[in-house]
């Protein structure tokens, strides 16, 4: 029979190779937070031709009204031409000549100026978001709470579901460790994607992350369920063999469900789903793959590591290596 568990430390190393670079990028540059989490405004304007204002022109228009820290990107529109400007700036609610101007009115002034500069009266606002500081703060708190709550719910739920077999709390903890692995993979991907493609951590990203948590748990339960079932009639088998056996038994299902169906669906979404959902689809694609991978190569091996109390030999291992 396929011996999957034998190389368990290799899988741990492989995961570290994926996670560590992203974490380093994150430590240096931070996560690319979108307006949802840090407040500010995002304005996306689509022009009718490729003649769009230059970055300097845009920054100058914004500076004129006192907005510093403006970042400008161009993007491809639905027709495939680079005619979209994506402008990020601080909160647009401001005062001009002692009069209060709300964010929406300010946006209209800016768009009018952009139209003038580009000599393109038909330029259209694709999306506009303006998030004040108090909401952003609240969202960030809620987001942290939502992730923590989801993790806690998973531990309790798995503990409850597997209460019939020995050390059921271990299953919950190993599932959460593997889930943490998935979260780190997603964060790592986003940090790197943020540097390379200008990805942003917005509420859609959080949705993707929480979905990864949900489906990762679903996957772990399928593998653990097999271990639970086998425990009842393979009691004499060493734990490592039993877990290995369970993994092999569920392997076909994992491949078919994950690679053949869910990943195909997400791939279709990433390729044909339009620009708005592409980033979301790619994060889900990697996150859900990581969820399946970690069920087989992280969560189940961790159970074995725990059962054998292998940390007692870790020191010797590194000494001889």
């Amino acid at each position: 029979m396929l011996n999957i568990l034998g190389k368990r430390y290799l899988y741990f190393l492989l995961s570290l190779l994926v996670i560590v670079p992203g974490m380093v990028v994150m430590a240096i540059y931070g996560l690319p937070l979108a307006v949802d989490f840090k407040g500010g405004s995002l304005l996306e304007v689509q022009f009718s031709t490729e003649t769009i204002p230059t970055v300097e022109q845009v920054v100058e228009i914004y500076n004129q009204y006192g907005f510093e820290e403006v970042s400008v990107q161009t993007a491809e529109g639905t027709t495939g031409i680079r005619n979209i400007l994506v402008i990020r700036s601080p909160d647009l609610a401001t005062t001009i000549d002692g009069k209060e101007v709300n964010a929406d009115a300010m946006k209209n002034i800016l768009v009018a100026d952009l139209r003038e500069v580009a000599n393109d009266p038909n330029a259209e606002v694709n999306t506009f978001s303006n998030v004040g500081p108090s909401i952003a703060q609240q969202v960030t708190q809620r987001a942290g709470l939502a992730v923590a709550l989801a993790a806690l719910a998973v531990v309790i739920y798995i503990y409850f579901v597997f209460r019939g077999i020995p050390h059921s709390l271990r299953y919950g903890i190993c599932a959460v460790l593997a889930m943490l692995h998935d979260i780190l993979v997603v964060l790592s991907l986003t940090a790197i994607g943020g540097r390379l493609f200008g990805w942003q951590v917005d509420s859609l990203f959080l949705t993707a992350l929480l979905t990864v948590i949900g489906f990762s748990t679903q996957d772990k339960i399928v593998v653990f369920d097999r271990i639970r079932e086998n425990t009842s009639f393979l009691r004499k088998l060493p734990f490592e063999k039993l877990v290995n056996h369970s993994i092999v038994q569920t392997l076909q299902r994992s491949i078919n469900t994950q690679l053949m169906t869910v990943e195909f669906m997400l791939l279709a979404l990433a390729l044909f789903g339009g620009v708005t959902l592409r980033e979301f689809a790619v994060i889900l694609l990697v996150g859900l793959f990581s969820g399946t991978y970690s069920s087989i190569f992280i969560a189940a091996p961790l159970l074995v590591v725990w059962e054998n109390q292998e940390w007692k030999t870790w020191f010797r291992r590194t000494a001889t290596a």
Partner: protein, 455 residues
């Protein structure tokens, strides 16, 4: 055997109802008191529009109750409807936010100007001072919690130690009975008003005692006009003029007619999605869903053969029922919602795959097809149940996350995922089993044709 027939009848009935609901021109349900319209509701990201989050002004320190928020919400709704914007939806979020969703971005910019104002109209005694339109002034309204009594001496003058003049408010817009926009003999726009009985009396008393003084009309502490009282006004009618255009006169009339907000609101967040981008996203995500579905259906039929066919029928049933539920509730369909739908389709497929893999194991152990199917289903069930419940729990947490600050985008995703998983459990328990049973009994000597079952 009997149970399968019953299940089949159940599925067919549900399917018939679901297909009827899914019909594009469904007339809706009208039975007795129940009158329900059935339609597909698209979110702002798919049809274009504006979402605005209003917050109770942080500088407003007076205590307010949830009822005040509720009142503010219904006033906002009436004001928006008064402006002719269709399908506006306002929701209270948390203890100090109101989230407004306004489909169709064209009029949204006008709407925001009207809704953000508190619409507090005041008739202010400014004594001998004529104030220029647009000046911001301070009145004793709101600073003094007791309502100014009739005939009270006007508190005109300077407060000790401050530069600001605090004027006395005689009465507020609450006393208005009716408001109308008219043009005067010069063709200028005016807002005519009729006062309630109490208001008419206050007005009559004041104008009698203060002829040749200025009675300034103030909206949200900004002077609209500052007319002089020539003759006492006793019949309880009057008009406001002040260089209005048709639009500004209408906007003022709307504000006056639908009352003033009990609490001042400020715009905290605005999101606008252009209609072109919305339509494009809708088309593309539906195409993506279709392509994904076809590939997956092909895979299932090639890999699992006849059971794969049963799975595809079952997934199609799942799709029809889910869509019907979305239309019935109705669930607002957003882009992440479509993604949630795709993922729960994945869940539904997972249930089928788990059952089929188990079935194959049992077949390899030498069971007959019928036995293998029953056993496979029974053995796979605990993992299907437990794993799907985990997804249900996460989607509930997501839903809570989305509901607290008005990220309807997240909420839509959570709701579609939750409903999708529930329906997928149903189709996995009843659908696949029944369809597969039917297929097996339709095949002659199935034990000799195990190849048809993917072995």
């Amino acid at each position: 055997m009997k149970r399968r027939t019953l299940n089949l009848i159940l599925i067919l009935i549900i399917l018939a109802v679901a297909i009827w609901i899914d019909l594009p021109n469904n007339p809706g349900i009208k039975i007795g008191k129940i009158d329900k319209e059935i339609r597909t509701v698209l979110g702002l990201d798919l049809r274009g529009g504006m979402q605005v989050i209003l917050q109770v002004d942080p500088n407003f320190t007076q205590p307010f109750t949830p009822e005040d928020l509720e009142t503010a919400k219904s006033i906002l709704e009436r004001r928006s409807n008064g402006l002719g914007v269709a399908e506006v939806n306002f929701q209270i979020s948390g203890d100090r936010y109101i989230v407004g969703e306004l489909p169709g971005a064209s009029k949204a910019e006008d709407v925001i100007n009207v809704i953000k104002q508190t619409g507090q109209l005041e008739f202010v005694d400014t004594g001998d001072t004529e104030l220029e339109a647009g000046t911001t002034i301070t009145t004793d309204l709101g600073t003094d919690t007791t309502t100014p009594a009739e005939g009270e001496t006007p508190a005109v003058g300077q407060l000790p130690g401050t530069e600001t003049t605090v004027y006395h408010t005689i009465m507020t817009g609450d006393q208005l009975q009716d408001v109308a926009v008219v043009t005067n003999s010069l063709g200028e726009y005016e807002v005519n008003f009729v006062l309630k009985d109490d208001g008419a009396k206050i007005f009559a008393d004041h104008t009698t005692n203060n002829t040749n003084k200025f009675l300034t009309i103030v909206l949200d502490k900004q002077v609209i006009s500052s007319p002089i009282i020539r003759t006492p006004i006793t019949e309880g009618q009057g008009s406001i003029s002040g260089g209005f255009t048709r639009e500004t006169a209408n906007a003022l009339a709307v504000q006056l007619r639908y009352g003033s907000l009990p609490i001042p609101l400020v715009v905290e967040q605005i999101r606008v999605v252009g209609p072109t981008l919305g339509q494009d996203s809708l088309d593309k995500s539906l195409i993506a869903y279709l392509i994904g579905f076809i590939i997956v259906a092909l895979f299932m039929m090639i890999y699992y053969r006849l059971p794969g066919v049963a799975a595809v029928i079952s997934i199609a049933t799942y799709g029809i029922i889910t869509f019907a539920i979305f239309r019935l509730i109705p669930v607002t369909l957003t882009l992440p919602g479509i993604a949630g739908l795709m993922l729960s389709t994945g869940s539904a497929l997972d249930a089928n795959i788990l059952i089929f893999e188990r079935m194959k194991e049992e077949l390899r152990n030498g069971r007959t097809l019928m036995q293998a199917m029953e056993l496979g289903w029974k053995r796979a069930w605990p993992s299907i149940r437990d794993s799907n419940i985990a997804t249900l729990i996460t989607s509930l947490i997501l839903f809570w996350f989305g509901s607290t600050f008005g990220a309807s985008i997240v909420q839509g995703f959570a709701l579609t995922l939750f409903l999708g998983v529930l329906v997928s459990l149903f189709t996995a328990i009843i659908g696949t089993r029944t369809f597969l049973g039917l297929i097996i009994s339709a095949v002659k000597e199935p034990e000799k044709r195990l190849g048809w079952f993917g072995l």
